[in-house]
């Protein structure tokens, strides 16, 4: 009898052990793979530097000089005249310097930047529309 009880106890223990270590049981037991964890990782975005500030907006475009600076891309020769026409309709005294009168483009190089600054000053630009990007 004692031997039978021993076997029953051992069998019960083995069944319980098997139940605990089946994959499903492991997944349902939070402590099977450890305790709650907090990872403190470096923010990968690091840092950036603000070296330029956007210009203040104009309160109105009337009596102001708005310059068109073209990338010579993506239908600039069709979109700028439309914008010009609509701005002049809304602000009758705005002066728009068309892209082909600026004699520059928005190309990204040092030589062009120098020329761009010169032309913006020469034409008295108080606002600029740059396009078309893409």
């Amino acid at each position: 009898m004692k031997r039978l009880v021993k076997w029953l106890v051992l069998a019960s223990f083995l069944v319980a052990l098997a139940a605990v270590f089946t994959p499903a049981a492991v997944a349902q037991t939070p402590t099977a793979t450890g305790t709650p964890v907090t990872l403190a990782v470096f923010d990968p975005t690091g840092a950036y530097e603000v070296t330029n500030l956007h210009a203040q907006r104009l309160s109105t475009l009337n009596d102001k000089v708005v310059c068109e600076i073209s990338s010579y891309n993506w239908e600039w020769d069709r979109t700028f005249p439309v914008i010009r026409e609509l701005l002049q309709k809304q602000f009758p005294t705005v002066k728009v310097v068309p892209w082909d009168k600026m004699g520059i483009n928005s190309r990204e190089d040092e030589e062009n930047h120098v020329l761009l600054k010169k032309m913006v000053a020469e034409k008295g630009c108080q606002a600029a529309i740059i396009g078309n990007a893409g």
Partner: protein, 452 residues
């Protein structure tokens, strides 16, 4: 006020930030892409004029002071256990457009400190000009170490990554252009010097990676991708408009097969060709828009030397395929401008050398073969058919890199326009030998090259 098409506002915003303005700009985003195509209906523009007026008169910048802005040093991620915390970290990275879909190694303090043993530079030291464009996130040594940690890298790889970033961000290379363009360019990083026998970079079979025995190609390349995406903002469809986006998981980071060409007369390594000494560790970076393998052994020449000519002709046809028009029409005066690269297996280099071809002769011959006719340019819409034919110049020279294994093969790494190639020296830390010993202890002996 900046006009752009829908879906490009993220890229323009990144470019504005890269110019030092912070992450904000008056951009009208709602106009459809189709409005910018030839002869398109401009009604959306007419209906959206108030948005332009708003951008010129009402929009206000939130950032009103200059200075460095840090996004915070540490992020905390929790989980019911370690694996769950890792999973949550991966999800958070994906939600922020930082991840690449593969598991992220947590860049915890200990791991980043370990990676930082790969350099004697200070964590906040700027690498090269200090910005990764178009977005302009700061390229610091710590940013490199964090990216390498996330990529699963090791300290001895950090000097190569830092040099790669330095070369890539050299202003002459204009990386802001090729990382953001629709043309799907990727970085090719070629490492030369004694370090190629110390750091586990692939140079032979499967050189474009990944290679389990040479994991550094993958980890350095993946770290570079993290830096481009997170610091540079080149998230597909936002900061990068690469239509197909080749090799964006890990770029192409490799060691030139210096051993394979070491005895060949007239076949200097890429770094030596670019003015460095053989004992210097150098990283050279250039963009490529795709890679195409050309086989030698399907040539039908009656003699071996004619077969070689046929092979080079095929390579010229492959390399000349993309738009290299600038190089053909205008005289190229920049000695650092190249029209793509050939990667030649060491057997191919030896075969050519045995037949009396050196690097220069190969380049001169191929440039001549790449030259298209005016008629072919007209046919492909590359020149104005109404224009008077002009003299077509040779394309700029191409780089030749020894790489790949024993077959007689070549690989054309197609040019992104006429790119400027840049190099940087690798700076090793004082305790370099200790790092290499540790790597050998962790990973086992450096695997020997096959057939050497």
């Amino acid at each position: 006020m900046i006009l752009t098409r829908q879906t490009f506002s993220g890229q323009v915003l990144a470019a504005v930030q890269g110019q030092g303005f912070g992450p904000e700009a008056p951009i009208v985003t709602e106009w459809p892409t189709t409005m910018w195509l030839t002869g398109a209906d401009l009604t959306p523009l007419r209906e959206g004029i108030d948005k332009i007026v708003y951008g010129l008169t009402k929009w206000q910048a939130k950032i009103t002071q200059k200075g460095q802005i840090s996004q915070g040093a540490k992020i905390k991620v929790t989980g019911k256990d370690y694996q769950n915390a890792l999973d949550n970290l991966g999800v958070m990275f994906l939600k922020n457009d930082w991840g690449d879909g593969l598991p992220i190694v947590p860049a915890i303090q200990d791991r980043v400190d370990w990676i930082m043993t790969g350099t004697d530079l200070k964590p906040d030291a700027k690498v090269g000009p200090g910005k990764i464009l178009p977005k302009g996130g700061l390229a610091t040594v710590q940013a490199c170490a964090v990216a390498l940690a996330m990529a699963g890298g090791r300290p001895e790889e950090l000097p190569v990554l830092i040099a790669s970033v330095e070369a890539m961000t050299d202003p002459a290379a204009k990386h802001e252009s090729w990382v953001a363009t629709t043309r799907s360019a990727f970085a090719v990083v070629v490492v030369n010097g004694p370090i190629t026998k110390q750091v586990r970079l692939g140079s032979r079979y499967g050189v474009m990676g990944p290679i389990p025995k040479y994991p550094s190609s993958s980890t350095i390349g993946r770290a570079l991708s993290f830096l481009l995406r997170i610091q540079g903002g080149t998230v597909p469809g936002s900061g990068s408009m690469a239509i197909f986006g080749f090799m964006r998981h890990a770029n192409a980071v490799l060691a030139e097969d210096e051993f394979g060409i070491k005895d060949l007369k007239g076949w200097p390594t890429l770094a030596v060709e670019r003015g460095f000494k053989p004992e210097e560790n150098v990283v050279t970076v250039f963009p490529s828009v795709t890679a195409h393998q050309t086989q030698f052994h399907q040539a039908f020449g009656p003699t071996p030397d004619l077969e070689e000519i046929q092979f080079l002709n095929r390579m010229a046809a492959d390399l000349g395929a993309p738009g290299l028009i600038g190089g053909y029409i205008a005289e190229n005066k920049n000695p650092n401008v190249y029209s793509g690269a050939f990667m030649l297996s060491y057997n191919m280099c030896r075969l050519l050398s045995g037949m009396g071809w050196d690097k220069k002769k190969v380049v001169d011959y191929v440039r001549e073969q790449m030259k298209p006719t005016w008629e072919s340019l007209v046919k492909n819409g590359r020149v104005d058919p109404k224009a008077a034919p002009t003299e077509i110049k040779n394309a700029p020279p191409m780089l030749i890199v020894a790489g790949g294994d024993q077959g007689n093969q070549g690989c054309a790494l197609m040019a992104y326009g006429n790119h400027v190639t840049t190099s940087a020296k690798v700076q090793l830390p004082a305790k370099w030998d200790d790092l290499l010993k540790q790597a050998e202890s962790d990973l086992g002996p450096l695997p020997a090259l096959v057939n050497t």
